[in-house]
């Protein structure tokens, strides 16, 4: 039996329907990091499914055991592959797609790394490190704040932001940026970009690429709120977001500030442990499901 149609159906459900469901639910705002995990679980599930579908389309009659067998054979661990599995085009499809994932991630991570290195080179000459603020201050009238994640990270605030914000507000901003750095959020973003790069036009990829940055901002907001008062973070957000937009910079992400501000000012109930458990288990199972499916198909 060829299980390819089943895989394609499952892939369609995960790639098109699941993101719609996720976008409509409200719990991601309450548990942003869990939501990040769910988005990536869906992405992993979709990838696995596409790979298995490719394997089944190219090698009808094969199933996962056969593929695993071919893997072992290819690595020289097992005996000769039997004639039934033939020249394993399925294996080729698996390897090609896996390589595409790794390449995409490496490409985006390295490009971002290079951009940061160029930026840091200028920043370290132009900026003035402030031990009190735990940030680098750049002379610039416009209020702005951002961070350079990765190795040798920097939190950057403009002198305009130092002038415009109170001590508490600056503390909240710096704490937010440090959350990005400690959470290695740049790697998560690179993974999101890589997935969108491999599957352009796929609704799951498009929404994932849009949602992950927002969810990471929410996670950083939550972390900043552990040390900073709500009002300090909210006023800082408003001051920095409503400042004059620099030339060429359009406020594409403006509405995300609105969502975040509402969330900081009127905090949603934190997610119930039962919900966390259920969603977490679901996220863990999603990528495994197509594999279980293939085993079943293989046995049947």
């Amino acid at each position: 039996m060829n299980a390819a149609p089943a895989f394609l159906g499952y892939a369609a459900a995960v790639g098109v329907l699941a993101p719609r469901l996720l976008l409509r639910s409200s719990w991601p705002q309450r548990a942003p990091l869990l939501a990040v995990a769910v988005w990536f679980a869906l992405a992993a599930s979709f990838s696995v499914c596409v790979q298995l579908a490719a394997a089944h389309l190219t090698t009808p009659g094969a199933h996962l055991h056969g593929i695993l067998y071919s893997c072992r054979a290819a690595l020289g661990l097992g005996g000769e592959p039997d004639a039934a599995t033939g020249p394993s085009w399925g294996l080729v499809a698996l390897v090609v797609l896996a390589a595409a994932h790794l390449t995409g991630f490496a490409f985006h991570a390295v490009r971002a790394y290079a951009a940061r290195a160029r930026h840091r080179d200028v920043l370290d000459k132009v900026g003035r490190p402030s031990a009190r603020l735990r940030a680098t201050v750049v002379d610039h009238a416009e209020p702005a704040a951002y961070c350079l994640p990765g190795r040798r990270p920097r939190v950057v605030v403009s002198s305009g932001a130092v002038d415009a914000l109170s001590h508490d507000e600056l503390g909240a901003v710096v704490e937010h940026e440090r959350a990005h750095i400690h959470g290695r959020h740049h790697l998560v973003l690179a993974a999101a970009h890589a997935f969108a790069w491999i599957f352009p036009g796929l609704p799951l990829a498009r929404h994932l690429r849009e949602q992950i940055p927002l969810l990471l901002e929410m996670a950083a907001d939550d972390r900043a709120l552990r040390r900073s008062p709500q009002n300090a973070l909210a006023t800082a957000m408003f001051t920095l977001a409503s400042g004059r937009a620099p030339r060429g910079a359009l406020a594409v992400g403006g509405e995300t500030v609105l969502i975040r501000l509402k969330r900081v000012l009127v905090p949603p109930r934190s997610a119930h442990p039962a919900l966390r458990c259920t969603v977490g288990t679901g996220a863990l199972m999603a990528p495994l499901l197509p594999v279980l499916l293939t085993c079943h198909a293989g046995l049947g």
Binding site: P213, A251, G254, K262, L265
Partner: protein, 122 residues
């Protein structure tokens, strides 16, 4: 050993603060008031900065007189443009505190804040 970048920053900082051309000797003497630095090291790093396009130089007698190519303000402005500019790929490189909003969005935000009863504080 100090990082090369740190010494680059120290040299640029002095030239910008003095706001006049200076020799490596002057820079070394000034750095030496705080910590020891070898003349040859500073000269090497000044040459690196010249090669990278940060400094220009002209001969005065035996010594080179170094001048920053652009002001600190000009570099700061370019840096901020790079950080806040509209490049699509910057998001993974630089993580922003917030994106800028349009006037309409600011108005919507004010309205939302008023609705939560905290508008007066902003």
């Amino acid at each position: 050993m100090r990082r090369l970048g740190e010494l680059e920053a120290e040299i640029m900082d002095r030239l910008w603060t003095w706001d006049r051309p200076a020799t490596v000797r002057e820079i070394v003497d000034d750095i030496n008031r705080r910590r020891p630095a070898a003349y040859t090291t500073v000269m090497t790093v000044a040459t690196i900065l010249y090669d990278k396009g940060w400094l220009t130089r002209r001969k005065q007698g035996q010594a080179w007189l170094y001048t920053p190519v652009r002001s600190r303000e000009a570099y700061s402005a370019a840096l901020m443009e790079d950080a806040l500019g509209a490049s699509r790929d910057r998001s993974a490189a630089l993580v922003h505190f917030v994106e800028r909003m349009t006037d309409e969005e600011v108005a919507a935000l004010r309205e939302a804040l008023r609705a939560t009863g905290r508008g007066g504080e902003l």
